[in-house]
Point group: C2
DNA sequence: GACTTAAGTTCGAGTCTCGTACTTAATGGA
DNA sequence: TCCATTAAGTACGAGACTCGAACTTAAGTC
């Protein structure tokens, strides 16, 4: 009759423990270190239960116990901190002109991160070598999972890739799994989705449950975080906003149609509008434009028109999704307020009613490694959600 | 650090039982009646556990046991059916020109349903009286919850209403709660959201996990069901698609701006396009238009243009949300293929890549009571999700 | 140095799931 | 007709877990 809701796995008493363990972990992540007694109050669990759970977490090297801090009345508590030394998530990114890797621990600290340039046939070998290197350099701790971010359409199975521009990603998950000696499962994700997840955990939308991430390169892609979860859609292709019919309806898009949003606000449209050439990477191109903008009012003017179309598309997205924060990444970052300010204005003009407030527009703070970082965070997700046992 | 994910309530052993009970209930709802042994296979629970759980459900009059059906080898099983006589959800709708109520049991059967015309100051009293009547006529069974659907912006708390056109909904939840003698909690929901939920359980998108519902009256509203859950957004206003800048960018909207989608595809735009007058209700108006369309090619032509703009907006929504099925409700229903066919065409033209398939476009099958039915279904949700104990 | 306060642990009771063994109710062949 | 076979459902004990109460421990306070 109805669609599937909630987990469809039977819950055993061990599942119960996992659930409550995840409760403690999330409390430590969101509200910071706390004594067992405080944790009991925060989670609603009994003191005794928290004691057992923290014991298990300490054994798995997920938490560390600080010295007691005297000061108040009564026996002082010993604060428990989520350091997560023992549990690691690996995030990888396979992109058109580079590969990168981020090794993240459960405490949210980046243990290692590296980006290497790579193109064409050298790409996949470079990624596999990078993965091997990173894992080899940090032998301590258990690798909980790994995820590869790819600029393309990833199916709902989190493994197979339906379509990628300019690069081949068939068999990617299996290749990476082999490179890691099968130390953990490997999944594949869309780069915008991964970056969106990263922004909602480490970046400009940290702690925001409803966030939208927009990345600008040659194409335009979005990642949707709703209620803290990534929205994937029925086939995994949600957030493919580049070809929405928005902006200049006569603009010719790379896809052959007219009026796609990215034909108005993609990298090429921006460069044509300001009259500057494309450089080696989108980021370099945008930096050059930003540098020119401070001197040339015509460039600023062109960027303002671009920003207006950005705002127009964001108005659509805001009306549909009602996000709290919108993060702009990719080539938008160097352009900063040149695009943000007019985007805010056209967004304001397009908000439906007085009751609705404008979502906050922010710039990404994570740089090139946003996608890999988000992939790592997603690799660790199972622990925080209680799906993966800590012990 | 990160946003809240998953339930933040501690899980006790009773919670475990609720969870597994909900597992059995969902299996019965989705896959139909089954013997205890079959249920054990379907859910992954032990036979003994299923036995205990079914016992509890039978005691609460949630399931009924049929006679054993011989035929195969071995002892025949006794199929357990989800009749849900004992557990009821009440759905109400407060609309501009009518109020309605649906009393639904856990088995998904509509026990009672009624719609009464009401306007202006008589609206709220009519709703309260209707609620009292309906509950009085079905005294057996436990009322698990009630929900009121309202055409307006409902905040994330599921109680307070931020904005409604042409009607007052302040204190609505409390008033209904009082009318029901506090027999159950009452929440408030957006009518498009409720209707969307109804379509994904009883209507044209039954069993579809990613569905989009679009209602057409004077305004245009959407309800988003993603992974079986309603998407509400950060403030509860997700799906307010009427004022997206789509369609004829010069069309003047009731909100004072130009280019809103509903200025192109709302009821008034449609009537102006075909040159027919507005009747008492949107449905009547649309029926008159449909009647005229079969004779008048100019009307068909106008509806085709309208359908094109409908498809344009759906293309945007499909790109963002990737739904499996889109259900059109409200005034679109009488117009049927006059609008659907051109909408499908313009949607096809706008799909980004070969990898992506077009979502199926269907007409709502639920009629006037869609919203109230969905509200009732939502009132029962807590039982299926395991949040509300059955006993 | 005794008292107070609060953190953390120990322990027994209660609840739940699970696997195994058992009972029950049908079929099918001798 | 009777008995083996098959499969559904139940009874029961083991194991895991949470919880509250009692207890121990480590500080500050009088």
């Amino acid at each position: 009759m109805g669609p599937a809701i909630g987990s469809d796995l039977p819950a055993s008493t061990e599942g119960l423990r996992r659930r409550n363990t995840s409760l403690v972990l999330r409390s430590l992540r969101q509200q910071g270190p706390a004594t067992r007694a405080e944790l009991a109050k925060r989670t609603g669990l009994a003191k005794a239960t928290v004691g057992v759970i923290v014991g298990g977490l300490a054994e798995a090297a997920a938490v560390d116990e600080a010295d007691s801090v005297p000061g108040g009345r009564g026996r002082p508590g010993r604060p428990v901190t989520l350091t997560g030394r023992g549990l690691l998530g690996l995030g990888l990114e396979l992109n058109v002109d580079y590969v990168s890797a981020v090794l993240l621990d459960l405490g949210g600290r980046v243990r290692l991160s590296e980006t290497r340039p790579a193109t064409d046939a050298a790409r996949l070998p470079a990624l596999l070598e990078l993965a091997r290197d990173v894992v080899r350099r940090e032998p301590a701790g258990r690798l909980v999972g790994a995820m590869v971010a790819v600029p393309g359409l990833v199916r709902g199975d989190d493994r197979s890739v339906a379509w990628t521009p300019n690069l081949d990603a068939t068999g990617l998950a299996a290749d990476v799994e082999a490179a890691l000696d099968g130390r953990c499962g490997v999944s594949v994700g869309n780069d915008a989705n991964c970056a969106a997840y990263a922004e909602s955990h480490h970046g400009a939308a940290t702690g925001v449950a409803h966030a939208l991430y927009l990345t600008g390169t040659v194409g335009i892609g979005a990642g949707i975080v709703s209620d803290g979860r990534l929205q994937r859609g029925s086939t995994g292709f949600a957030g493919e906003v580049g070809h929405m019919p928005i902006g200049d309806s006569t603009a010719l898009c790379g896809c052959g149609r007219r009026g796609c949003w990215e034909a108005s606000v993609g990298l090429h449209a921006m460069l044509t509008a300001v009259g500057l050439p494309e450089l080696a990477t989108p980021l370099r191109s945008a930096q050059a434009v930003a540098a020119r903008a401070s001197a040339d009012p015509a460039v600023r003017e062109a960027l303002a028109r671009l920003g207006q179309d950005v705002g127009l598309g964001l108005a659509v997205l805001a009306n549909v999704l009602d996000p709290e924060v919108v993060v702009l990444g990719g080539y938008f970052v160097p352009l900063g307020e040149h695009v943000l300010a007019p985007a805010r204005r056209s967004l304001d003009e397009r908000l439906p009613s007085a009751a609705q407030r404008r979502p906050e527009l922010r710039l990404s703070t994570l740089g090139m490694e946003a996608a890999a970082l988000g992939a790592a965070e997603l690799a660790l997700e199972g622990v925080f959600s209680g799906d993966v046992p800590v012990t």
